[in-house]
Symmetry: C2
Subunit: 161 residues, 2 copies
Amino acid sequence: MPAVARRSATRRSECPISGALDVIGDRWSLLIVRDLMVRGFSTFKDFQGSGERIATNILADRLLKLRRSGILTARRDAEDGRTVHYRLTEKGIDLAPAVLELLLWGARHESRGDTCSVVRVIAQNREVMLREVRRRWRERDLRPLQSGGRWMLNEILERQT
Amino acid sequence: MPAVARRSATRRSECPISGALDVIGDRWSLLIVRDLMVRGFSTFKDFQGSGERIATNILADRLLKLRRSGILTARRDAEDGRTVHYRLTEKGIDLAPAVLELLLWGARHESRGDTCSVVRVIAQNREVMLREVRRRWRERDLRPLQSGGRWMLNEILERQT
DNA sequence: CAATTAACTTGCAAAGTGCAAGTAAAGCCT
DNA sequence: AGGCTTTACTTGCACTTTGCAAGTTAATTG
């Protein structure tokens, strides 16, 4: 079996959007990607405590499917043999622009509360955000970009000067 | 009941990404949005013939949910009382950046065949594409931006000069 | 006015989801 | 060494959603 994702029997058409949705078009996959991308999560336990209360069997299933799709990889911790660290692949981190746009859309249209000002800053600094997300991925910098609903924007925008 | 989408009992968290996925995080919703956005589709029949073979009960269900979420509206045709025309709302057309990024990701990582050159052009003209999508929506211009896998790129890029 | 068409609805089997409980292997504690 | 805890799952089961085929209703066409 090759390392590349099998183009499975469930593929519906030649459209790239359709292809993308075949892989990440469900209620959970992109939340796992989000946790890896902006929250600095990496273990099963982390994902479990994510706030959306994913069932453990579904989580295990999605991690497997995402691994099979080449979006993330798993490696056992060298020091603690119990824990497995998941990490986005290049293909996985490449979802960042799509995730960012979904975030902005969700914040504009689906959020209650005071996300507005934060979102404006993010919207006006898309490229900065994306570069930072990718940099942290590349350098294995697991510090969260966002945690407990708070974004680390100052830190990111300062770095840019 | 207000005109705005109810924030339903199925909402999982305060995260905007999660909120977005609660509404469009399934295998079909964004395909309907795509059909409306770039293929110039507007009727039940159109969506049915989309290539991905959505079942009619699921299609009806998704159209209802998308309507309830304020992503699209339905209006009966003035001349032919049988057909219903669906149309994206402002909130719906505002999904364009997210859909575009998913398209680019899908094309980069999930497509077989020769989408590469087309995708490069689209990737390098994101803003032009998005402006055109929105313009067509605003002016109710139903000509497809893409049809049968072929993108009308010349037409769009020329308009830009 | 019979046939056709558009937009659904219904019935049902199969697949997927969510919850609670259980398991296996590794680590920690004394 | 032996028992408790932790991590990452797996299992069982009720419930929901999906997919397919067939049917329905209302409007239009010939």
